[in-house]
Subunit: 401 residues, 2 copies
């Protein structure tokens, strides 16, 4: 592949595992993988502006086609010349189709082979998504990576439900592929399309789905329908069998995952891309991810702490903001608490992924991963003596939700 081409290339592989470092080139710049994509559902990371995201080294932003379709609406984004211009983010954007959100909706919906009918979570209005419309919406958004519409069943689900979801997901993948082939980018820059595999935690169905999915020449493949409540071991099993089946020359995206441990283990199995609300959502609830384990900032033990959040993470917030001050800001209900916690958690995730890439290049990934996870496990034991006041304090902190 010529360096200027849009697409994916592996630049380093771990001799001891399936972990790999790669470069995913998009029309809005490169993404070094394994990469974590912060979630910016409505066109912003929650409690973080783009300049801060740039400073943090965020390489690619995940936005949601379903949310943006409902608000501000596709017309507003088209008028601006696409999503990048509308939100003022010049780096790569991946748009999720919104299938996952629609299947999570409480509102009545009708599902058929043709598509899915749902009511807006904002105003209850009726809408209908088909695989073709979802491609058209993402053409209007102009995202660098588009996702096909899929059916995402809950966990646990009966085999018949999983079978039906796999069949429909494949049918929709084919139609999405055709809609993609017969349409063109609206703003002149090439868009990639990723297909999504389903199958729940059933190995046979997973394999079948992915094998069939690979017959279309998608630019990348996603492992969907996981991190929906299944045991971690099943998650890892499904990831391992999926990456074995997926072509080596395409990026592999594990949707909605996850914890630092989930991410490192999945990297070991050969996953390249991740997204998850965990670092940002948990930040807003006062949970910090650090190199010495998770910290619940509401815990009274941090009240007089003048320790920085995490001196090992090379970011001004992590290195200089003290736990005592951050706890005060949460207790006082200050929005600044959400900003600082979000910034730190994303800095930690950035550090985690950057370190993983470096260790893969060094050939020391597995060793580092094991010792790092042991350290987190150890820290977990040490910090489990949560103060009984913490829950009470948490319920008083109105900014946390």
């Amino acid at each position: 592949m010529a360096p200027e081409t849009i697409g994916f290339q592996t630049t380093a592989t771990d001799p001891q595992s399936n972990a790999r470092v790669g470069l995913l080139r998009t029309a809005h710049g490169p993404v070094e993988t394994p990469a974590f994509m912060p979630v910016g559902t409505q066109g912003t990371i929650k409690a973080l502006d783009h300049r801060r995201a740039h400073e943090l080294g965020v390489q690619i932003l995940l936005c949601n086609a379903y949310h943006l379709y409902l608000r501000p609406g596709i017309e507003a984004i088209e008028r601006s010349g696409g999503l990048h211009r509308f939100i003022g983010w010049e780096k790569p954007i991946l748009t999720d189709s919104g299938g996952y959100q629609i299947f999570s909706l409480q509102q009545l919906r009708r599902l058929s082979d043709d598509g899915v009918e749902f009511r807006s979570h904002i105003d209850g209005s009726l809408h209908r998504f088909t695989p073709e419309l979802v491609i058209a919406i993402q053409r209007s958004l102009g995202s660098d990576i588009m996702m096909t519409l899929d059916e995402c069943p809950p966990y646990p689900a009966e085999r018949a439900v999983l079978e039906c979801a796999v069949r429909r997901t494949l049918l929709w993948a084919q139609r999405a592929w055709q809609a993609f082939q017969s349409s063109a980018p609206r703003y002149g820059s090439r868009q990639l399309l990723f297909g999504i595999g389903q199958g729940g935690t059933d190995p046979t169905l997973r394999r079948q789905c992915l094998s069939e999915l690979c017959q279309w020449n998608f630019d990348g493949f996603a492992i969907g329908g996981l991190s929906v409540g299944e045991p971690t071991e099943l998650l890892y099993d499904m990831v391992a069998l999926s990456t074995e089946l997926l072509p080596a020359d395409r990026p592999r995206y594990l949707m909605g995952v996850g914890t630092p441990e989930n991410i490192l283990t999945s990297i070991e199995h050969g996953v390249d891309l991740f997204d998850c609300v965990l670092p940002t959502r948990n930040a807003r609830n006062g949970q910090l991810f650090t190199t010495r384990g998770k910290i619940n900032i509401h815990n009274a033990r941090w009240r007089h702490s003048d320790e920085p959040i995490d001196p090992e993470v090379d970011h001004p917030v992590s290195r200089t903001v003290t736990l005592g001050y951050l706890r005060h800001l949460f207790t006082a209900g200050e929005v600044t608490a959400l900003i600082l916690a979000t910034e730190h958690n994303l800095a930690f995730y950035h550090w985690l992924l950057a370190t993983a890439r470096q260790k893969i290049r060094d050939g020391s990934f597995r060793h580092w991963k094991r010792s790092f996870l042991e350290r987190l496990q150890q820290a977990k034991v040490e910090t489990s003596d949560e103060d009984p006041n913490a829950a009470n304090l948490r319920s008083r902190c109105s900014t946390g939700r």
Copy 2:
């Protein structure tokens, strides 16, 4: 005054008005005046972290002794080695005594010449502030500029109420002065003490209060008890007669003021320092201050606007974030909206004060002030056709309050 001394010196005066540029040197660095102090009541500007405040050029932060005394408590701040270290802000801090907040409390309070008894707005617990305790608290905080405890009557107030407030404010000023003289800084860096004048909108009482206040050698003088609902013309009258009486070699601080017009007019009368919640609070409600007038971002007219907030204000947010995108973030209830609006409004206030200082130095302050206020007035007329949907949208935006 030698350059290394703590204190105030005038560096330029406007030949056509009482406007002046000065340098207020504190133990934590200089403040070029006229200056606007953003309000950081609980140890942070709302919706803005310190790094952002530094970038904006914030010279001095205003914190509130009353709020910090209640939460996190003086002990927590003493343990950290003072407020600067507790919050991680290395530049100057002015602490308001909290008198204004106590007099605004709904909770029952008892007021006597000795002090004021009040119930905490957080948990209803009973507390008692005396002029001496307020100095002791601010010694524990280690703020660069401390304020005396004063009695701030509402507007309108009967003459007898104003007379009593003036008498008590002077009595407390004397006791505060003595407490200040007989105590020492706790963290080795010198603290300044400002006295506060009261008198409502009664010229005789204002003059009497300030004349007596000037007998103590305060490091600066504040004009208090204004911007509490009185007509703007009375505000300006009180400011003009106050600055005439106050010594030229001390900084003059107009408390709780105000709009861009209030600030420029008060600068013309010789005021050096300002604080106000307006730029930050209004930002959170979706009102933007710009060089072309105020913008209510909830107004539907901005829905498809790809104009930046204010290209004349030299800040990345003001110059690059579009009104259409910012409106989307407010409508979607994103915390990022609060961050960006706060950042822009403070950038605008920073630009306003920096431009005022430059124009005073140039000798063109009055001319610039007149033409700038005319322009704002003109813009006000042009943008008054608010969309009828705006109020409805505003009530839906849960992040605005």
